[in-house]
Amino acid sequence: MRTELLKLAGLPSAWVAAALGLLIPPLLVTLNARAAPAGTDTGFLELTVGVLGPLVLGTIAAGSEYRGGQIRTSLVCVPSRARLLAAKTGAVTLTVAVTAALSAVLTLDVAGALTGGAGPRIAGVVVYWVLAALLAYGITLLTRSGVLPLTVLIVNTTAVSFSYLLTKVTPLAAYLPDLAGARMYLHDMDTPGDLAPVTGGLVMAAWVAALLGVAGYVFHRRDA
């Protein structure tokens, strides 16, 4: 686990990703403050956009191993693939959780929404960011290249996302990971379905668990 954290900290792009997650939401709050009046979701909406940082982090955590065959060296050092994967997943989770907590406090402070009642919603943001990063990480483990997962996931963080378009076709789209997960901290969502914050988090966690299960199985069976 310490090795995995060290590997992640040694990647310049990981620092860029963390900086993206830390700086984008407060910046957007400052930009938006002039355009729109403050609502119940001010600050939290910007944090949804800031998920770009964790997405990049999750992708490079998995993708960097497959550039120049680093994965072979890693497997020589830690032959147990289950252990290697567990340590890597732990490193991603820990890094993103710290980034998310810092960014949430910073953003809400800038937005002036850092009140006593914001605690559970901040926890929701942290869980959302960690799960989103693990989603990107799981897809990258499967594809072994970050281009496809990043393209799909970045395009999906826009204001009018694919998932949002799908809700126009079927109400079941409210159970897609990003829409269900955002229920953890957003109050005003104009999508169908009415999931409670905890249920939304569990739905997203179930998606991520299923994806990591498949990715872990494939990683276990595949030649490095």
Partner: protein, 175 residues
């Protein structure tokens, strides 16, 4: 002319580009079918941005650029040939996409492909190129877009600027 033909051949035979074009078309058809009324171009232009990034960064995976420069030592001419070949390859892809979507302009799509390729040449890394280009178009862009109109001259100017920066970088840099 033979330089441009070589570049064209390289682009046409790259499986990643064919895959990107295919996925873009499939997505366009799906969105045109599903989201009646909504314009699919803002979504599927991501495919063209990725196309540009992959076309440019493929030279830098595994040092292919060194072989290319051995064949074509004049770097400015090489960059010109690359731009020409990419525009040629992208035009039919863009035309088909516009026909599928029933909206948008093919020239815009070709221009943003060239822009993405210029950025990726400067960065020399596919993933970094994707993050920068898509991050601007999908995360930062919507917030600053209000200050610019979305005419054709702006993407054209940006594509030209990116390509000049890329050429300058290729001219000065060690391969």
């Amino acid at each position: 002319m033979s330089t441009a033909r070589a570049e064209l051949l390289k682009l046409v035979t790259l499986p990643a580009l064919a895959l990107t074009a295919g996925l873009t078309w499939g997505l366009t058809a799906l969105l045109a079918l599903v989201a009646d009324g909504a314009d699919p171009i803002p979504y599927v232009r991501a495919g063209f941005l990725v196309l540009g990034v992959l076309a440019a960064s493929s030279e830098y995976e595994g040092g292919q650029l060194r072989t290319t420069l051995l064949g074509t030592p004049r770097r400015a001419r090489l960059q010109l040939a690359k731009a020409l070949a990419l525009a040629l390859v992208t035009t039919p892809v863009a035309v088909v996409t516009v026909l599928l979507a029933g909206a948008g302009g093919a020239a815009y799509l070709v221009l943003i492909t060239l822009l993405a390729a210029g950025v990726a040449t400067v960065l020399r890394h596919a993933l970094a190129g994707v993050v920068v280009v898509l991050g601007y178009y999908y995360v930062l862009g919507p917030f600053v877009r209000d200050r610019f109109d979305d005419g054709l001259w702006l993407p054209a100017a940006w594509a030209l600027a990116a390509w000049c920066a890329a050429t300058a970088a290729v001219l000065r840099r060690d391969a």
